[in-house]
């Protein structure tokens, strides 16, 4: 708020110096709404962070000692990966299961989100419908994935079924938003031109809307696939779903076997980095293809 007062003062002074002339005073740096919003946001965040650091309870943990211990744990983990309970092939197969979970949830979520996205796009559906769908998926997205999985676990039992449904729910929320925004980017005149030729709603969707936004749809879906892979690992650990996450949780939380945690981490990292590289490559090819 200081800045506002200062700039007001400068305004006043300049007005006097010009002797009431109608010349526009030149302010070195006008403080517009955007700058103010940025400064205010950063100020609030800095304040909250400082407050957190000052009040963060360490529960009697000796921070220096714990840091040293953690560093040596990381050294054990990354420099001496080794497996005791799993063979490397087992671990590989478990990662494959996790990958399968990520794939299933992305495909299921993508198909559902395609229809919801069409109903949520303002240029394709009536306003009342888009409002309903958009608020519906906003609520779905706001519930953390782990809570969805556990809620479904009560009905389906812990395991891959609950994990798939729970992860799909969150994917639908995310992808519907992404898809509908891609659809809304489409020029209105294209739709109007097709409508004028007598095309019905489905023809507009399949001949114009989906082909022209296919690149965006694919890159969003691939991004979600990467996220779902990470989520599937997490669900294995936190909700007892199948896959490598569960082994990671057992190795880290029960056997305290850092060597095995290291091996699993390397495997997951390798898969994730291959996927990231593939996604980057695909995105570049799709973009240059247009």
């Amino acid at each position: 708020m200081m800045e506002i007062d200062e700039s007001i003062e400068v305004w006043g002074k300049m007005g006097k110096r010009d002797g009431g002339n109608n010349l526009r005073p030149l302010i070195a740096k006008p403080l517009d709404r955007a700058t103010l919003a940025i400064r205010l946001t950063l100020f609030v965040l800095a304040g909250m962070t400082t407050y957190t650091f000052l009040t963060l309870g360490s529960n009697g943990v000796n921070v220096a000692q714990a840091t040293a211990e953690t560093l040596s744990n990381f050294a054990t983990m990354f420099l001496h990966p080794y497996s005791h309970h799993l063979t490397v092939w087992d671990a590989f197969y478990e990662v494959l299961i996790t990958l399968g979970l990520a794939y299933l949830t992305t495909v299921l979520g993508g198909v559902l989100a395609l229809f919801l996205g069409l109903m949520a796009a303002q240029n394709l559906a009536p306003k009342w419908l888009t409002n309903i769908i958009k608020s519906f998926v906003a609520v779905i997205r706001a519930v953390p994935t782990i809570l969805w999985v556990l809620i479904f676990a009560v009905a389906a039992g812990l395991g891959s079924t609950a994990a798939v449904i729970g992860l799909t729910f969150h994917s639908v929320g995310y992808l519907t938003k992404a898809y509908s925004e891609s659809f809304e980017d489409l020029d209105r005149s294209v739709i109007e031109a097709l409508r004028a030729t007598g095309a019905n709603w489905w023809q507009v969707v399949f001949q114009a809307v989906i082909p022209s936004s296919a690149t965006y749809l694919l890159s969003w879906t691939f991004l979600r696939f990467e996220i779902n892979f990470g989520n599937a690992v997490a669900m294995g650990a936190a909700a007892g779903a199948a896959g490598i996450g569960f082994d990671l949780f057992m190795a880290g939380g029960y056997y305290f076997d850092l060597h095995e945690v290291g091996l699993i981490t390397y495997l997951v990292l390798a898969f994730a980095i291959v996927m990231e590289t593939a996604a980057t490559y695909m995105k570049r090819r799709l973009q240059s293809g247009e």
């Binding site: 940025i38 962070t49 650091f53 211990e69 953690t70 299933l104 079924t161």
Partner: protein, 261 residues
Amino acid sequence: MQVDVFRKRRNNALIFFGVLALLTAGAIVVTQYDVEKGFTSLGKAFVWGAANLYPDVKSLAKLPDILAKLRDTVLISVAATSAAAVFSLALALAGSRATRIHRSFTLVARGIASFFRNMPLVAWAMVLMLAFSQSSLTGFLALFMGSFGFLTRAFMETIDEVGDSSVEALKATGAAYLHTIFQAVLPSSLPQIVSWLLFMIETNIRDATLVGFLTGTGIGFSFDVYYKAFNYHAASLVVVVTVLTVLIMETVSNTVRRMIL
């Protein structure tokens, strides 16, 4: 010729959906996902949810406790994001195409970012838990690590986008390295950076629930305790409170974004 275009398009679509279906079948086999059970339990879950999953009057007594945990979670998410942002910005400046000191820095920065981004959050949480035990610091550090990787990548792309021309212009006037950064690069990429920060905080509040589960801190732990005690009314209160927080956070950051971008 016209016909060929359409046939090619149709064939491409057929191949695409064929591969998609094949992979789906493979994934169902590998994960042992029970399709039928998936559908039936969806219905069962809704029936059960309607009967049990709502906050009742008795669970409202737990509200002060839940809100205190929620406060911890939000504060930790914000602090982890802000602290990570400081380090990410430094690394992104060192590695970005426009502002790097040497070519090799880009590769190193990208490598570090990729490592921290792709490392599973669970692995961070598990390893940190061994030394830091059940304290808020565990949650803070786990979120910090993930945010650091993501933000570095995001900041690097932002700086690359806005940087090139303005840096060149300032260099031509003979400005020093630090001057170009503080006078050109940072001011012009600040709106995007703040937007990424807000996005990261939203993500971190959701992820904090998961980390809380694994490390026994914050709102995730509250849910875990009530869920395992079959106190579903109190657990649903946690869900409601979390949803409201995320929705409020989303609204605030959308408002700020509209003002700055």
